[in-house]
Structures are given as C-alpha cells and as structure tokens.
Amino acid sequence: MTSLDEQPSVLLTEEFPLVGMDLSDSLEQAGYRVLGPATTAAEALSLLEKETPTLAVIGIAFRDTLCTALVHALRQRGVAFLVHSGYRQDDLLADAFRDVPWIIKPAAPEDVVSVLDELSLAAAPASQEAAVDMPARLVEQNAVRANPLIRKLESFAPLSDEDRTLLEQICESPRLVPPHTDLGREGDKPDGVFLVLSGFACRHKLRANGSRQINAYLLPGDLCDLDVALLEEMDHTITTLSACKVVRLAPELVADLLTHHPRIARALRKSQLVDEATLREWLMNVGRRSAIERLAHLFCEVLLRLRAAGLVPGTSCELPLTQVDLADTTGITSVHVNRSLRELRRRGLIELEGGRLKILDYAGLQALAEFRANYLHLGDRAAA
C-alpha cells in the first residue's frame, strides 16, 4: 500500500561503516528509506541539502566540529532525530539535547528502530495523512491509539468530558525514553508518579550479585504508586524495557487529581487495587507454577492488559522483551525460558518471533496456566 515515495526516510549518520550498514539493513526491513549512511557530519549535511528526511539518526562523534551544524540544520527543518552515542546523555552537551532520545552505543539495531518508531509516531499528525510519515506497519497501530490511560480509567469509573480533557492535557507532552533507562532508582527520593503511554517498562529489584527480579510490568495506561511522594526513598527501581513514551506527574498534580476530581480519583484507586492484585498473582506464579505455566500465564495477562488499553484488536501483540527479561519476570533461568517457549510453540499455543507474540490457541494457553482474569477486574473490556 505504500510506494517508495511515501515511505518515511531516515538520514542515517554513523561513524563506523560496519555499524552503519547493519543499522541501514534493519531500518530498511522496518519500512524506512535510508539516506546514507553518512560517516561524517559534512557528508550528512550535503545529503540534507538534497532532501529533507522524515527523521534522522546521529551516530557520529560530537568532536566532529560540523556535528553542531548538522543538529542545527535538522532542528531548522523540523526533523526529529535521536542520538546513538558512546557517551551518556549526562556527560556532555546535556542542555542542548535534553529532549532528544539518546541511545547508548553499542545498541541492538532493533532498539534504534523502536525508538525511531516512537519518534515517527510522535512526529506524525493525528490524521489520515499520517500514513505518509510512518512505516506502513505502524499505521494500524496508530489508528487504535486512543489515550490508553483514559481508556483504562473509564473502565474503572465513569468519567466526565471535563475529566477526559484534563487527562488528555496531562498526557500532552510525553517524554520519549530509550529502552533500558532507569526512570527512578532504588534509594532515590521519589520524583512524582510515572505514567507510561507507550512501550513496556517494569519495576524491579536487584541483588548484590546483579541478578534481577522484575516485580511488575508497566504497560500503556499504567502508572506507578499514586502516593509514592509519602515515602522518603524508592524501595525498587523503575526501568524502561523497550522505548517508551512517559509522562511524569508531579506530586502536587497527583494530589490535585485525588482531591478535586472524584471520578478520576476513584478510577486511579481502583487501578492501584488491580496493581496489587496483579502482584499477588505474580507471586502465585513464581511460587506455585511450573516454568511453562508461568510463561503461559504471563502471556495471557499481557494480551488482556494490552487489549484493555485499546492497543491490540486481536490475539497478537508486540512483546518487546528478551528471553532474559522473561526469565527475570518469571523467576526461572533463560535456559528454562527457551525450553518452555519451544514447548509452547510445539503444542501450537503461541508463536513468538521478532518481538511479536501471537497467541494461536488462547483457550489452550489459558487452560495450561489456569489463568483466571478476575484479578484484572476488566469487566467485559478485553474478553479474548
């Protein structure tokens, strides 16, 4: 449906030619037309003279003196870009790049693509013409992209038009956060409530030896503890697993919502009860289910939650998780994850490839896991 001309274009700059070629392949597979890869800022500037791309990737060193000129030229043309750099964002030029998605090198090409997808979605106008500005595979996704927070809260309590407008306003300027970025760390003073609008984030705890237990997923429409501001310090860490769009709600804003907007307050409290119920279910999972049952249970839950947020129409969904993420979620080794996924596939229950989960036999998966969706309190929102 999309001709070459309509494909979104990406100006790719990458100082290392091999990395550039690799990234270029991944971008093309993901539906982008690649300009470059340019290995220097000068080369990128001359490409930019010929054509204004939809998006850009800056993968060249900032010691390249023309890099500043390139960034300036992109800004002038309104081209959204991400930085793929060996430096951390805090290390240099932090002010000039505060709002720019930043991926630490070396990153997997998929991670760069997923952040670019987010940029593409954010840059696209909310109209039918959006199709021109993003890869075809994202268009459908965008069409069902009503505000997931509103969708979720409305199922917990009726909201007024005024409530909906207020929630829309709150979600207006999300921050694009690259994968594997800590939003709040254990020991930090809580800095407001994080609301995830797209992507997967998690709460987790680390042992001294570095082993990690993921305690919850924050999916689109989910937010972390409402009353976290009452605590002196965070007792766990919140991290993005994939690229995410995130909004931080200041404690005063949360207090205002809870005090002056009773319908929103009721829905938020109910949502918090569901989070607690989900944690109980996860405890059940790691304590009393076998490896294969744990994964089956998790997949049933994630599908229903994404459906409830209005993000998934059928029985397949994006699952931007590695086998290590799944292992750390279900408290098993990645060897057991690999074996169990193969067994689930062999039984014809799921397919999991390229970050996409397809549930082939929901009833079978549900029976295997003894999955009962009651703890999600979904009503009839996400019946599968």
């Binding site: 042992r207 030896n209 082993s211 408290g331 080794t333 060897v335 690999n338 074996r339 193969r342 067994e343």
Partner: protein, 78 residues
C-alpha cells in the same frame, strides 16, 4: 577435593539430554546438562540443571566446559 562425573540422560522436556551426575565423596551434589543446538550461541555449554545443598544456586552461570563447571561446583563446596 575431587568430583566424580557419571554420564546420564536427563528428561528435560527438550532436546537437552546429555548430562552428568556430579558426585562429591559419594554424594550427588549436582546435575549438569549439555545445552543442545536449540540454545543458539549457548549450544554445547553446560547448564546447572540442579544443585543440592551448597551447590543450589538460582543464579548459577552457564559453563563453557565441564572443567569450568567442576571448578565452580568445588568453589561452592568449599
């Protein structure tokens, strides 16, 4: 301190079958399983399928070969 290895097949519910029972002073302390091709880059390495007593560790590494695995098991026992 010596370990004795005994070849055995373990029903892991996967292609990972080739295994070793690991004995220390006539006590079974661990079961090691060789990872099959279905594990991609980890294929051929050894996995602590089960550890008993002080060898029990949910975060054990995957071992490049049996020597490395035995070294780690001995480390746990001492």
């Amino acid at each position: 301190m010596n370990l004795r290895l005994q070849p055995v097949q373990v029903a892991t519910g996967s292609d990972d079958g080739e295994s070793r029972l690991v004995f220390h002073e006539s006590f079974l302390v661990a079961v090691l399983v060789r990872l099959s091709d279905e594990h991609g880059p980890e294929a051929g390495k050894w996995f602590l399928e089960a550890g008993f007593g002080r060898v029990d560790d949910p975060n054990a590494p995957i071992f490049a070969d049996l020597d490395e695995a035995q070294g780690w098991i001995l480390g746990q026992l001492t």
